[in-house]
Amino acid sequence: MIHVIAFYLFAVMTIASGAITILSRNPVHSVLWLILAFFNAAGLMILVGAEFIAMLLVIVYVGAVAVLFLFVVMMLDIDFAELRAGFVKNFPLGMLVAIVLLAEMVLGIGAYKAGALQLGTPDGTAAQPAGTTNIEAIGALLYSRYLFLFEAAGVILLVAMIGAIVLTHRQRGDTRGQKISKQIARRPDEATVNVKPEVGKGVQL
């Protein structure tokens, strides 16, 4: 009973907030609704017993990705009239993307129903063994069977990160950075000088 109520609550909220994400006029509202959609999707994950994925969804998407979205969208000065003017022009392209996504989803669900995939079968034979937690099951798979794929994913991420830094970093010669160690090493006796200037004469430091 409680399962059913929770499922329908999360499912309806996910779809509704997903819809409002693309319908709302204010981009900041859109991002906030998107966050609510992520959050409810995490709730759905918990209902199927994938608590680890649910937590990662909240930590990564809600905690990091969406904050950056919000950060960027908040700082943009968006002209709503211009946005709406582009709607008709981009409509066919949008429809195309939507059709492709729909076809993929139908195909995916069909393939899942057919039970052709070994990873997750509808009758639950590929479910994690009882008595192990999510994290243990995922860890055992990632670090044994899919070790090289996992490492390759890590290397790709590293390359992407370094690439982003290389593309955006520029060395500027005209700035004077702080050297914290030098500041800490400064002592009063070398930083201050006592001078007794003669009247009417300047001081050379």
Binding site: N26, L32, A64, V67, F71
Partner: protein
């Protein structure tokens, strides 16, 4: 507690529902009362360090000061700026307050006294603490005013920066405990080093605790990292446009978060509800007493730091997070996992 309600003739689902609601109230109500008293304690400690008296008028020793303040803001008018985005402006303090209470679900108060004894307890804490920033960002943006907006920008950058190193610190703890379950982490600390209960007595994890304490101050935007509400630069930061109960919600949420950080310090590094020494006599004292003593001690440390350390500059804050804490915590992840592998901890 579910079993108790089942004996009253309820079905399992109803019994679970009622017992969960009771559990939430059992944690949330004392917590809110505790927050009110802890605000008083904070002001008293702060005053004592500045050789002042602090609140001493309302009630005996000023004990009722927080309640008087609460009544005052309750009676104030809620002012919504005309340029504000009304909906988000009103939701923002609710988000902060709710999120501050949510993380308490996985804090173990005693060996069985935990609302949700889930396997991913520590990840849940991370997830919830990463939500905390939304209350601030939403307030800053919805206020449609300069200072709150600056404050929101600062807060989001600051909290993301320090969450990264907190994540690595927690990984060290999890590696040693071998579980994400909060109760499991507490139990793993029993008799950790020579009868001492707590990861902090481990030379490899002690530096992690120091970094966790400092990161915790940055994460909860306490002094010396309270740049989001630096009054000399940003008036009152993201709360500038708030008044009445919305303001009080921020206030309570902030202190509930500070208490949560203290509880995490106690649970993850100082043995939670375990007594400090693994001696049978000490187990006669209920675990919750040890837990609360540790929490109060860390709150004293937080107040002490607030009273004595001057505020960081923003670039110093970023430097500390990214250039000091991140590499050092990453190094310790390697050291801890290397040590555990070398000694065959999980063999």
């Amino acid at each position: 507690m579910t079993a108790f309600f089942q004996t009253l003739g309820m079905s399992y689902e109803w019994a679970w529902f009622v017992s969960t609601i009771c559990g939430i109230l059992l944690i949330a109500l004392p917590l809110l009362l505790g927050v009110a008293m802890i605000i008083y304690a904070d002001r008293k400690i702060w005053a004592a360090m500045a050789l002042r008296r602090g609140p001493n008028v309302v009630g005996p020793f000023g004990l009722l000061q927080s309640f008087a303040d609460g009544l005052k803001v309750f009676l104030q008018e809620t002012i919504i700026p005309s340029a504000a985005n009304k909906g988000i402006f009103l939701i923002a303090p609710v988000v902060t307050f709710t999120v501050a209470l949510m993380a308490w679900a996985v804090i173990p108060f005693n060996s069985g006294a935990i609302l949700a004894d889930i396997n991913v307890g520590l990840l849940y804490v991370l997830a919830i603490s990463s939500l905390g920033v939304y209350g601030t960002i939403m307030a800053g943006w919805a206020s449609n005013s300069k200072y709150p907006f600056f404050s929101a920008m600062r807060a989001s950058a600051q909290m993301i920066s320090y969450e990264v190193s907190i994540g690595f610190i927690l990984i060290c703890v999890v590696l040693w405990a071998g579980t994400f379950n909060m109760n499991g982490i507490v139990k793993a600390q029993q008799d950790h080093v020579w009868l001492l209960n707590g990861f902090v007595f481990n030379p490899l994890l002690f530096p992690m605790w120091v970094m966790f304490l400092i990161s915790g101050m940055a994460e909860t935007q306490r002094a010396p990292f309270d740049l989001t509400e630096a009054e000399s630069e940003l008036v009152a930061g993201y709360q500038t446009e708030y008044s009445s109960m919305a303001f009080a919600a921020y206030w309570l949420g902030e202190y509930a978060n500070v208490l949560l950080m203290c509880a995490l310090n106690a649970t993850l590094f100082w043995g939670g509800w375990l007594p400090p020494l693994d001696i049978p006599v000490l187990y006669l004292v209920p675990g919750i007493v040890w837990f609360l003593l540790k929490v109060l001690f860390f709150f004293f440390v937080f107040s002490w730091v607030k009273a004595t350390v001057p505020r960081y500059r923003y670039d110093q804050l970023m430097r500390l997070g990214w250039k000091v804490f991140l590499p050092v915590s990453l190094l310790f992840v390697v050291l801890v996992s290397g040590y555990l592998m070398a000694t065959g901890h999980f063999a």
